[in-house]
Assembly symmetry: C2
Homo-oligomer: 355 residues x 2
């Protein structure tokens, strides 16, 4: 008999396998219908089994944000990895070179400094050059060259290096910025083509605008991450419903110090302190009016004053986190469940791969 | 030759052994001078080696917030553990009973429900009863009975159970609330004594008011945690100076997309998103005017507009986190350093012990 979730010790992470599978299929079906190629970001689940499932369903490869994550996925047999990160320092570049021998690999750069590091590392790899994309800041205000003209300059720099090949453009788009992103990428693509360096790959992504991916037809790849689990922040953005959300934290009420206050055994060490602009540190399933107003490391403070029904000490609650991805990073293991039963408990293999 | 920190891959945690030792000694010297007994909270370091050092210097035992942390410390040979947490559910109570066979153990309760769980579990342990303290809400608004009279009622309930012994009172005090805490505990103690249940132990604590511990002479134990490393939040409270801070995250500038913006390879997965009311997600050492204004999982966004000097791509920076404790929880390993050299790299043994 599979184990019932009532026997699990809290706090713990439950992944609803049926919902996760439905989310993966729905996104892949959408992508297939619109000719969008998915390259899912594994940061959300950090699990080789889901990376493999994403590939089985039709993803063209995966995306990892850190070298350590990519190494875990390569160890698990994943063969095509995009690492959209500026990698610097000799020790990391040596790891990158090792990884490039094992998998089909592409990276990004947004400066000549980063390109030069790749070029030096792969100087003797002209037969198997490293694919480098130019990271573009299309409005998110993080990394990336600032203008399409800067993208052309950097693309030429990449193309001038024997061990490197210019592969195209990559951006982490601002949520809701589809039109601006499209215009930016179009201009850069046109200028690159005019310069004799037409981009082979144009990579964009993000779950917030996943259902609008087809509105950026110039992109050749889309990198959603959170869509496998979704979360409260994406419910708030109308990207999904609460019934689509596949990751919850199972917690226990350990104290009811006042008529309105409940304390759960899950704090920032179990749910993170990510607010993402939302009210409260997560949503209590079945108690829509409850507010998780405070977090310390090991306690969550919930205000049930607006709830007619209030939980008893010992009652278990499901919490929908604001942000699923960093929650995965806190746990050594997660429970894969179907209904109320545990199908499998798996190690979060790429957890804590900070570098 | 010990390894130079310049060879470490980033992001990573550096613990300055000399500062940590000085912090531990200073607190123990203060405690000794005032007759305060320290029972340090290991949540900050999560390392058996520092728990043992705290005991060597004179601590009377340690404090763990979760059963899993206590189990790690017991495995490492620690023999006296206080677990000030309401433990519920049969699986956890069974673990608690196992732990009680291995170490001198005390727990807390703030409700009859929790006491009854302990009582049932330890019903056959009258020869070696479980010590239970009543958790008191003296103003922090988390767990705890609400009034001294409630403390007496619960103490009587504990004392009525064959497998349990009422040991005293425990509170997690509000920062800066020393006078109110003292009055609350005094009233409860007087009422307990009048009821024939004088508290043997009165436990309070917290690093924010560590240098005022002697102002609560009624307390028999003090449970500071963060004082081993300190952090930016405690600098802001004038509990320590920046030169006392022993935990830093070593990061690398991976992008300088604009004249004022720098992106580091450390985001919320490396520094947490804890703000604790501060401006920015940490302090850049050597750049007092820089503001870490944004965090995504793998990137930190820093505004250097107010800094005359700005770092180059590839430059390494030390970040003083807002809150040291949850940072320890993110890393599988930390580097213990002396000056610029790594003395030892150790596994964070009690990391991720969520339950």
């Amino acid at each position: 008999m599979p184990r019932h979730i009532d026997t699990l010790q809290t706090p713990c992470v439950l992944i609803d396998l049926d919902r996760a599978e439905a989310n993966l299929k729905r996104a892949q079906d959408y992508a297939d219908a619109h000719g969008v190629r998915l390259r899912p970001h594994i940061k959300t689940h950090k699990l080789p089994l889901f990376a493999k499932r994403q590939l089985e369903l039709g993803a063209i490869g995966i995306t990892c944000q850190k070298l350590g994550e990519a190494e875990v996925m390569a160890d698990a047999g994943i063969e095509d990895i995009f690492l959209p990160y500026n990698l610097v320092a000799p020790e990391k570049l040596a790891r990158l070179k090792d990884l490039a021998k094992r998998v089909t690999l592409a990276v990004t750069a947004d400066s000549a400094y980063v390109v030069d590091g790749y070029a030096e590392t792969f100087a003797d790899s002209a037969g198997a050059p490293l694919e480098v994309l130019v990271e573009c800041d299309t409005g998110a205000g993080r990394c990336g060259v600032q203008t399409p003209d800067d993208a052309v300059v950097l693309a030429k720099h990449i193309a001038s290096k024997p061990g490197l090949v210019f592969d195209g453009l990559m951006t982490y788009p601002p949520a809701g910025g589809t039109a601006d992103v499209r215009a930016w990428l179009q201009e850069a693509s046109d200028k690159l083509t005019a310069a004799g360096l037409p981009p082979k790959t144009i990579s964009t992504g993000g779950t917030p605008d996943i259902w609008r991916a087809h509105e950026t037809p110039i992109a050749t790849e889309y990198r959603p991450g959170t869509y496998i689990y979704f979360d409260r922040s994406l419910v708030a953005r109308d990207v999904c419903t609460v019934d689509d959300c596949a990751l919850h934290v199972l917690v226990t009420v350990v104290s009811r110090p006042t008529a309105d206050r409940a304390i759960i055994d899950a704090g920032s060490k179990a749910l993170t302190s990510d607010l993402l602009g939302l009210n409260g540190y997560g949503q209590v399933v079945g108690y829509p009016d409850a507010v998780i107003y405070g977090m310390s490391e090991e306690h969550g403070n919930i205000d049930f004053s607006a709830s007619a029904k209030k939980p008893e000490i010992g009652e278990r609650l499901l919490i929908l986190p604001n942000h699923a991805c960093p929650v995965s990073n806190l746990y050594d293991h997660v429970h894969l469940v179907s209904g109320d039963h545990v199908v499998e408990t798996v190690a979060v293999a790429a957890r804590g791969r900070v570098d």
